[in-house]
């Protein structure tokens, strides 16, 4: 589980957006703010075999509470500063080339630097859920332990450049793909001025919600207040705020709404498994929004079986309810266990990552 910052002062949604009068309702903004403010704990330690001579071994670990929407290459400057300034001996470290630095998890898997940090963390959580000793009852987030290697990246690593420029291009590519998935073209993204497109990445680099959303609101669908159904917040969640009544006066344009997209940009991660991506239309039929339950039944029915039908009413049981089913697995989005009745379109509008994608990570219950 990850922590969310307390909700800070509210900006009036209308004040942040352009003259185009696309006021985002309070509800959507709240969840986007919570997503933006989400962080995960990282514990970074240099491989002891690679520590340069005379390093200060008392300081061998760097702890950081990293934003879920950020990327490892963007954290490199502060990580480098910590190790070079405080830990490594200057002479011993002078020949280190930081373009050869690379990360591995404590379990020995190569870390994908082009994944958002929140996804790296959640993917690790579900991988750990496969082990019988893991427990989900702890409400304290366990740090993700990463090992920093200083040289000799494996061949696979050599292939993927970790520079911030490469990271920016990968990020922009994901945003354009998400645009294509929603509308069948990348016009909305490519129609932005270059300055605005760059502004999205600047918002990530500076971790500035307003700068990012000033541009992103032009291309990200919102959930119309009359149709959005947020899930009931889980009671154990410390700082999740109950959904307030929508205060939106005008409502966003239905035409661009989250329920009118062709398909929602969603990817499914199974523990130690491949990434699954398919078409996810927002509605099952004219009146029924697609829920997480429908989506998971489509893709991984063994882990998320359909609920058995409700038994017919009888004198002994005039108001029957469906029998409880054992749930072998759970679904995490932004580190939160999602109720299965959550609507996919709502996830697309409110809980997507900054790259436009909803990442659903499946963990195993014990």
């Amino acid at each position: 589980m990850s922590t969310y910052g307390t909700t800070r002062h509210h900006h009036s949604p209308a004040a942040n957006f352009s003259n185009r009068d696309r006021a985002t309702d309070y509800h959507t903004t709240l969840f986007r703010r919570l997503t933006w403010d989400g962080t995960v704990p990282l514990e970074i330690r240099v491989d002891p075999k690679e520590l340069p001579a005379n390093s200060d071994r008392n300081l061998e670990c760097y702890f950081v509470q990293a934003p879920r929407v950020s990327y490892l290459p963007l954290l490199m400057p502060e990580i480098r500063r910590f190790f070079m300034d405080l830990v490594f001996d200057e002479t011993a470290a002078k020949d280190l080339k930081d373009e050869e630095w690379w990360f591995e998890t404590a379990e020995g898997t190569l870390v994908k630097w082009h994944w958002p940090i929140g996804l790296i963390y959640d993917n690790h959580t579900i991988s750990a859920s496969l082990k019988p000793t893991s427990s989900r009852s702890s409400t304290n987030a366990i740090p993700l332990r990463l090992i920093l290697h200083l040289a000799s990246p494996p061949n696979e690593k050599l292939l993927l450049s970790p520079s911030p420029e490469a990271c920016k291009q990968a990020f922009m590519g994901q945003l354009k793909e998400a645009d294509f998935i929603r509308w069948g073209s990348t016009k909305r993204m490519t129609g932005l001025r270059q300055q605005d497109q760059d502004g999205l990445w600047e918002g990530i680099k500076e971790h500035n919600f307003d700068d990012y959303w000033r541009v992103a609101s032009k291309v990200t669908p919102t959930t119309a207040p009359t149709r959005a159904q947020s899930p009931v917040p889980p009671s154990s969640s410390a700082s999740m705020v109950n959904r307030p009544p929508s205060a939106d006066p005008g409502g966003p344009s239905e035409r661009d709404g989250a329920y009118n997209v062709r398909s929602i940009p969603v990817r499914l991660y199974v523990p130690d498994g491949p990434v699954i991506q398919g078409l996810v239309p927002p509605m099952i039929d004219d009146n029924t929004p697609r829920t997480l339950s429908h989506y998971l039944l489509d893709h991984i029915p063994l882990l998320f079986p359909a609920s058995p039908p409700v038994p017919p009413p009888s004198r002994a049981n005039p108001h029957p309810r469906p029998p409880p089913v054992p749930r072998p697995a759970y679904a995490l989005v932004q580190g939160i266990v999602m109720p299965l009745e959550t609507e996919m379109a709502w996830l697309g509008g409110c809980l997507a990552g900054a790259d436009g994608w909803v990442n659903v990570c499946i963990g195993i219950n014990h």
């Binding site: 420029e165 291009q169 491949p274």
Partner: protein, 212 residues
């Protein structure tokens, strides 16, 4: 565009058609592919094969006089292509879930096992010589001017997760479908149409890279 089941079927038909045929230059691009599926998740099948290429260096044509002295560089003469090192390439045709078309992924290594840099890739015999026209390169991508996506960039293989280079598929459908209009007959069976689609895709791919 193709649905995933259509892609799977087209690939299987391709493998079947060429596995027992006699080799010929005209069909090099379509032969030798293997269909592989993910061990536990369906709908992640792809084509793969290995190919060899050469690194290509271009030298200007230099005149040598009767005394074995170099005289002048003849700019009018075509540069001499000096192929040196043997390069091995793993090639994949995967399904792009976003763009719903086939997508070409590959890796390429020196004979000592080291992966090639982008410049080495672009100057190998894998790419057609005009690849650099109207394009900007970085260490991680080649982008044609005024296009939304880089033509060549790095990404994870959708089934194996391994990092690869790939050619962006977004313009493919339009070109393939334009070309198909010229050749397709309405009476063709569904299977025949799928196989045509994939073969036409290889033709379009062949304008950028040498798939042989």
């Amino acid at each position: 565009m193709l649905t995933r089941p259509q892609f799977d079927q087209a690939c299987k038909l391709l493998v079947q058609e060429y596995e027992s045929s006699r080799p010929s230059f005209a069909t090099n691009a379509l032969r030798g592919w293997l269909w592989t599926e993910h061990p536990s998740v369906s709908s992640l099948g792809y084509l793969s094969r290995n190919s060899n290429y050469l690194s290509r260096h271009l030298e200007p044509f230099i005149h040598i006089d009767s005394n074995d002295n170099y005289t002048e560089i003849d700019e009018a003469a075509a540069p001499i292509c000096i192929d040196t090192e043997a390069l091995t390439s793993q090639q994949y045709v995967v399904y792009s879930a976003t763009f719903q078309v086939p997508c070409f992924y590959f890796t390429m290594y020196h004979s000592n096992g080291a992966p090639l840099s982008i410049n080495e890739l672009l100057s190998s015999t894998l790419f057609r010589p005009d690849i650099l026209q109207d394009a900007d390169t970085t260490t991680f991508a080649l982008t044609r001017r005024n296009t939304a996506f880089p033509l060549l960039s790095q990404g994870d293989h959708p089934t194996t997760g391994k990092p690869c280079w790939f050619l962006h598929p977004c313009e493919t459908t339009i070109v393939v479908e334009e070309l198909l209009k010229e050749v397709e007959k309405v009476a063709d069976s569904e299977d025949a149409k799928l196989l045509s689609w994939l073969k036409m895709w290889f033709v379009v791919l062949g304008s950028i890279i040498d798939v042989a």
